[in-house]
């Protein structure tokens, strides 16, 4: 599949909440030589969850955030 410039632009505007869903669920976890300890890695995930919460809070406060990037189908 070829990506158009429009597709790429849309990708850049992905909703943070959809991205965080993926970062929390995904990615290979490497052991060994990385500079973070396991406890630090857990902290990253705590932070990501907090980020989700802060998106909700921002919304409640009426701050503007980028809209969801998906195309609606009915």
């Amino acid at each position: 599949m070829t990506m158009t410039r429009e597709d790429i632009a849309r990708q850049r505007e992905v909703a943070l909440v959809d991205l965080v869903d993926r970062l929390l669920a995904g990615g290979v976890v490497i052991g060994g030589d990385i500079t973070l300890s396991i406890a630090d890695v857990d902290l990253v995930y705590v932070g990501l969850r907090a980020l989700i919460t802060s998106v909700a809070t921002a919304d409640e406060l009426g701050l503007s955030l980028p809209a969801a990037g998906g195309a609606p189908f009915r």
Binding site: V20, D21, L23, V28, V29, L36, D40, G70
Partner: protein
């Protein structure tokens, strides 16, 4: 100034680094070992070493910027070919450490690359349609009529919610059958999805690139099956949900 290496993910060695900037605008390089290459960019040790990074992660704007930069590089790599994303904040001290990881985890990384070869991830979110008004506005003329109406309302509500449930189950099942892999996340809270409608499906599907149009057509067809279920597609994403080994 001492530098560490932020690693984004792994690509086949023949696939060069994507031409996008990484964390804090740093150039992304391919660190190769054998048939694998890790995409990595330098980050200053003074701000990305253990304790300092920890402090930074408490700053949600900084974390959001890291998340977007991490995704930006992986997305560009996905456009260029295959990629296995690393978890966010995978940081190495030196290029040698990166190569050591590639050598040590070669089998595991190569088999993850094999699983996602030629594939991308699509997100499909389902939202419940607005519930239909159940009864006429006229006041009930008797207690019996009131009770009858209430029972009808309850039954209709129960019927439409179980219809919705089976529509969601059917949609996921059909999408999963079409896809090479499928997983469900917890539906997003209404405030997070920024939608009034309740999210009832938050699925991710691993789909061959050339079947993207057919997948989108299937999503549209499934949305047409049930008036009460609206489906929304996001992606393509790097295959975040499909690179971790199944837990033993």
């Amino acid at each position: 100034m001492a530098e560490l290496l932020w690693a984004y993910g792994v690509v086949p060695a023949r696939q060069g680094p994507p031409a996008v900037a990484g964390i804090e605008g740093a150039p992304v390089a391919a660190v190769r070992d054998g048939g694998l290459a890790a995409l990595a960019s330098p980050v200053p040790a003074e701000r990305f070493g253990g304790a300092e990074l920890q402090r930074r992660l408490e700053d949600l704007d900084a974390l959001a910027a890291l998340a977007r930069a991490h995704d930006g590089v992986l997305n560009a790599a996905m456009e260029a070919g295959d990629v296995v994303p690393f978890a966010i904040c995978t940081i190495f001290a030196t290029p040698e450490a990166v190569r050591g990881m590639l050598a040590g985890d070669a089998d595991r990384l190569a088999s993850a690359l094999e699983r996602v070869r030629g594939m991308v991830e699509w997100g499909v979110k389902g939202f419940a349609g607005a519930p239909e008004p159940v009864s006429s506005g006229a006041r009930p003329s008797s207690g019996t009529e009131y009770l009858t109406r209430r029972r009808a309302e309850r039954e209709q509500l129960a019927a439409s919610s179980s219809e919705l449930e089976s529509a969601v189950a059917e949609a996921h099942e059909r999408l999963a059958r079409f896809a090479a892999g499928a997983t469900l996340d917890r539906p997003q809270d209404r405030r997070l999805s920024r939608r009034e409608a309740e999210m009832v499906l938050n699925g991710s599907y691993l789909v061959a690139r050339e079947r993207a149009d057919a997948f989108a057509a299937l999503v549209r067809a499934l949305a047409g099956h049930h008036a009460g279920l609206a489906l929304e597609i996001t992606g393509p994403w790097p295959p975040y949900h499909f690179v971790r080994e199944p837990r033993p």
